[in-house]
Symmetry: C2
Subunit: 327 residues, 2 copies
């Protein structure tokens, strides 16, 4: 049994917990929190909830620690820190800061003889893998990534900070015509606006100026100004009834040519339709926790991304089984 | 420069040759043939064509030898034989015999300190990878593989062996309703007949009994009897004009559930639309030739499949570059 620890019991931590339940070679050894452990009730029977400070002395009870904090402030500190004590997996997704995060985790993990898998999930994660494989197989081509239809938490939060907004759910939606053009192999150059639209469902406070809220959303720099955005005002009941899930998804497409004169074209597409973004991310992380454990058992150490991990490490099955059944 | 040798200059060998041209860190060192080398003209300027027997003494000039023979009789002999002298890559695709092929290549390659990558292409190959990743990420789910629309060479050959048939091109076509049902996440159980149809374009000899030919095709065991098959008789000119390409493709879909009560469903789909089956296969093989070379440079040896090879080995770029640009 691979003994897993989870640090942080939000949506992602709960997703990881569910995933562990589906993997018979894993058990949830403990959940760690920076809140008061007494206020947290986990669903896995018999699993302890402990304060994060207990991690200083749990090395004998945990094979892989999964870090379920946020990329902005939690993971840059937590992942290097705990990679010096445990095999770890995180879902660090601030693309621009991945190089420095990798370097910090690499140094800590190598020093401790542990494996630290960073940036694991679906983007970065499964989408990254597909970008890499497709680029290697079709060196001459074009890459496209579309997200959605799905809930963007960052954009929902940004709208919630507007005065007069009680709640918001923001959906990112690929433009169907853009998708069709890419799939046709015509290699279109697409602007931000041409690739995605944004749709906001907003619960406003009573008496709020709806026109001002809509205007503030649509002109918000970075988040909405470069997109065609639709705003719907709804009631709290409608929000709860119609928008309580966290669906997401998208696709990675590479089109490219082969042949002596590049006369033949090809389309590689990887797509995800996810009912629950955090549960799917948690499932990817669970598979990579197995890989981290197995690679460390074989003596490897240091920071790894999905690019550095041979696919067979993700599976509980033997090489013989995989070759016979999945190859 | 990675110096590549090709054994066998048919459609696949030519596809590999084109792929090498797209990879600036590779060069085609020589083409080897069991035919008379004087009768073969390769497109890469300055590349020698040599008899296969020359492979006994070319170890200093070739880093990776790509075996482009057939799975029925060529590769079971060639791959173990040459894995004892070179890093090799093949596209062995007789699924039932992969375990024994792997064992034979593993033993030869380990003895020689070389890497032998077997069963490389898109199925087995990229499709296998996607089956494995999706199974690890969604342990509770269902797998589906659809092929086509595309030309099946084996089925085309089978029809050509019927008396009175001069030429045939057989297309395998996924049933759209089956694809829709799978993508909906309803986990349908699908029979062979429900998943694919087959379409044959046949050039008959003058005076041949067309009704008998059609009957023989449709009732041919293993190849056609379990499918709904359509037969069209066409002229040689039409064959040349409309059916000279070798397109193929298909998709691998896994649907599965997550959540404490498995309440959320997910669809992972990987699809390929290929103008040229042998050129795409050749492109996959070229990327894995790079991996074979690099893994061997790091001291690894033995038989490998796509499951055993970390994705980063396929790329000519550094880990830093990949993390910054593709993760």
């Amino acid at each position: 049994m691979i003994r897993i620890g989870i640090l942080g019991y939000g949506n992602l931590g709960k997703g990881v917990e569910s995933a562990i339940r589906q993997n018979p070679d894993m058990e949830l050894a403990a959940v760690f929190t920076r809140r008061n452990p007494e206020n947290i009730k986990v669903r896995t029977e018999g699993t302890k909830v402990l304060g994060a400070e207990e991690l200083e002395r749990m090395q004998d009870a945990i094979d892989v620690l999964i870090l379920c904090g946020g990329s902005a402030t939690d993971l840059p500190v937590q992942t290097p820190r705990y990679a010096a004590m445990y095999n770890v997996v995180d879902s660090f997704d601030t693309h621009a800061k991945i190089p420095e995060h990798f370097a910090a985790v690499d140094s800590a993990a190598k020093g401790a003889g542990k494996v630290g898998v960073i940036s694991c999930g679906w983007d970065p994660g499964m989408f990254s893998l597909n970008r890499l494989y497709a680029n290697c197989v079709l060196p001459q081509g074009h890459d496209y990534t579309f997200w959605g239809k799905g809930v963007s938490q960052g954009h929902s939060d940004a709208v919630r900070r507007i005065e007069g907004v009680k709640d918001c759910r923001q959906y990112t939606i690929p433009v169907p015509e853009a998708l069709d053009a890419v799939r046709s192999g015509s290699n279109p150059e697409l602007s931000t606006r041409q690739k995605h639209t944004r749709e906001c469902f907003v619960v406003a406070e009573e008496g709020a100026d709806l026109q001002r809220i809509e205007e503030e959303i649509k002109t918000m720099p970075n988040y909405f100004a470069d997109y065609d955005t639709t705003v719907h005002f709804i009631t709290e009941e409608e929000m709860k009834r119609d928008h309580s899930g966290l669906p997401h998804g998208g696709c990675v497409i590479r089109t490219g040519n082969t042949g002596w004169e590049q006369e033949n074209s090809h389309v590689i597409e990887y797509s995800l339709k996810l009912d629950s973004n955090p549960e799917f991310t948690g499932s990817v992380i669970a598979a990579y926790a197995r890989a981290a454990y197995r690679m460390n058992q074989e003596g490897m150490s240091g920071a790894k991304t999905v690019f550095d991990i041979a696919p067979a490490y993700l599976s509980a099955e033997s090489g013989d089984y995989l070759r016979a059944h999945l190859l």
